[in-house]
């Protein structure tokens, strides 16, 4: 049997939606028994949400004051201690997961397998390399613990309606005090979060300027209730801030709908969007690689098509 421990990301009493996707990934492992661990000062609310995910058998709460903020150096030794009871430890491929999971792997003396996109067996997985140009099947040593991050864009969220038991654990682990949480800074946008938005409107270098980028895309994004994204080229050209970057070098997303405007589609961008349910591309170059992943393509002048399109859906 494979006993899988998922590191439960949560903030302000809310379980991160990435966790339900990690559960789906874990549930593809034959003979799985899935646990979710939550570390925090008071994880009662997040624990109830984790217990409600279908497929989760146990929820493990590790509540102590030192766990109030998600500091990797504090969380990792506790997760490494818990790992003794499990065959696999999975974290989400979010910033949190990228912070904590490799440290757990390091403490356990194993290499992390990053960005699992498919499960072939308990020890065989697929992951993308070369910016998504190639996919590897890799096999982990069955004699050792598997520590991995799950590429959340590759998996649907597991359904609600689970009935896991919730248990509290006390761990006698000495915690470091070398990292201190100072605060949280939030962006000043009213738009949906790029990472979790159901719809995303994204612009590329063809927009030509920061002014055009905002003029052409903001209204459309607002009408569609969409998050706003940008290609690497648009960010590098200064049309949009780095936080808006979509792709392997930015956010890897899987919205219901992705509308790529003036984006030719460098491979690293395509890697970041290919799991979107429906991809619409508007580009003047019919040979642009974006049309290889798009479901619907419009070859033409974005400055004519987009304003007209915005007017029509606003009507």
């Amino acid at each position: 049997m494979s006993k899988i421990l998922i590191i439960g990301e949560h903030d302000a009493g809310k379980l991160n939606p990435a966790i339900a996707k990690c559960v789906t990934c874990a549930s593809l492992i034959p003979g799985h028994e899935i646990s979710v661990v939550l570390l925090g000062a008071d994880t009662s609310s997040a624990a109830a949400q984790a217990a409600d995910i279908s497929g989760v058998k146990h929820v493990v709460r590790v509540d102590r004051p030192e766990n109030e903020h998600a500091l990797a150096a504090v969380f990792a030794p506790q997760i490494a201690a818990l790992a003794a009871d499990y065959t696999h430890v999975f974290g989400p491929s979010t910033t949190f997961g990228k912070d904590v999971t490799p440290r757990v792997a390091g403490l356990l003396g194993v290499a992390q397998i990053s960005d699992l996109m498919a499960v072939e067996s308990a020890y065989r997985f697929r992951r993308p390399i070369y910016a998504g140009n190639a996919i590897l099947t890799i096999e982990a040593d069955a004699g050792r613990k598997v520590v991995a991050t799950v590429r959340v864009a590759s998996f649907e969220a597991a359904a609600a309606g689970g009935s896991a038991d919730i248990q509290s654990r006390n761990l006698s682990v000495t915690l470091p005090t070398h990292t201190r949480f100072i605060g949280t800074k939030s962006g000043s946008t009213d738009r949906p979060d790029l990472q979790t938005a159901a719809r995303v409107v994204s612009g590329g270098r063809a927009l030509g300027s920061a002014e055009n980028f905002n003029k052409v895309l903001s209204g459309l994004a607002d009408r569609l209730g969409a998050a706003l994204g940008a290609s690497r080229a648009a960010v590098d050209a200064g049309y949009a801030p780095n936080e808006m970057q979509v792709g392997q070098t930015g956010k890897i997303i899987s919205p219901e709908m992705y509308i790529a405007i003036g984006i030719s589609g460098a491979i690293q961008h395509l890697t970041g969007i290919k799991d979107a349910r429906t991809i619409v591309a508007i580009n003047k170059d019919g040979e642009a690689p974006i049309f290889e992943v798009a479901d619907v393509g419009l070859v033409g002048d974005l400055f004519q098509i987009v304003p007209e399109f915005e007017r029509l859906i606003g009507a």
Partner: protein, 266 residues
């Protein structure tokens, strides 16, 4: 004060490429090699600290690789690194991130830097794990995905900002020595001048063996790795259904598709 910057000579695919005979990687003739783009930013961050400091700061670039990786190190020297170290031994071939981390941790123990920078990830293998695993092995604090850093050389702590999702960032104070993985966009990497490129070509690259680091062949390479590549394959490509017509016809069709998608009557 010392900053160690771990860098990697990464590989990108040429336009046309073939898979190696063993089916586990790309034929090396079709790989284009360059300094990992994240490392450009972490090196710049180190050089910025050096340039703004009152006391001397030494920036050391370190890589694990064959002599082909000297090119990446020379790029670092040309952009302001003071020294360059390359670790290699034939036994290192096939190392996974934990094996590379063992090597980097050994270099850090030898050099005793105040800060160790690594890129958030490499653009080819994309593990995003090596830097942080190094911190775990050293028992140093770390912070991943740093997009803003304030550090005065000699200070006991650094203040930094980490980029999370949803436009949220965490601000964290961390004791040094520490490992930071640096995100794209934290600064604007400089271009090396022709003169500095010429000067860098004449600078030595220090070569370290496993022996010199107190490591053995069993710690690294395939012997020290826990996973192996079975097979490589290429993702399939599709083709979009194209909407033809004038701009206004295209916009109308698209609007109809979106309405349908949103569950409204077309």
């Amino acid at each position: 004060m010392k900053i160690l910057v771990a860098v990697k000579q990464v590989a990108a695919l040429d336009e046309d490429f073939t898979i190696r005979a063993d089916g586990r990687d790309i034929n090396p003739d079709f790989l284009i090699r360059d300094l990992n783009e994240w490392d450009d930013f972490s090196l710049e961050e180190a050089v910025k600290i050096k340039e703004s400091a009152a006391a001397p700061v030494e920036v050391i670039a370190v890589t694990v690789g064959t002599d082909a990786a000297d090119e990446a190190l020379r790029k670092c020297l040309a952009k302001g690194a003071d020294r360059a170290i390359r670790v290699w031994d034939d036994a290192v071939e096939g190392s996974d991130p934990i094996a590379i981390a063992r090597i980097l941790a050994a270099v850090a123990r030898k050099e005793q830097p105040d800060l160790l920078f690594a890129g958030v990830q490499s653009s080819d293998q994309s593990f995003a794990a090596t830097g942080i695993a190094t911190a775990a092995l050293l028992d140093w604090p770390h912070a991943a995905v740093v997009n803003q850093l304030t550090y005065t050389p000699g200070a006991k702590t650094a203040l930094l900002r980490r980029e999370l999702e949803a436009g949220v960032a965490h601000v964290v104070q961390i004791q040094v020595p520490a490992v930071l993985t640096i995100q794209l966009g934290i600064n604007t990497p400089r271009y090396a001048s022709l003169r500095s490129i010429k000067q860098a070509a004449a600078k030595p690259v220090e070569l370290l063996t496993l022996d010199a680091l107190g490591l053995s062949a069993a710690d690294v390479g395939e012997a020290g790795s826990l996973s192996r590549v079975r097979r490589m394959y290429m993702p399939t490509k599709g083709r979009a259904q194209l909407i033809e017509g004038s701009s206004s016809e295209q916009a109308q069709r698209l609007a109809a598709i979106i309405r349908e998608f949103k569950g409204e009557a077309a």
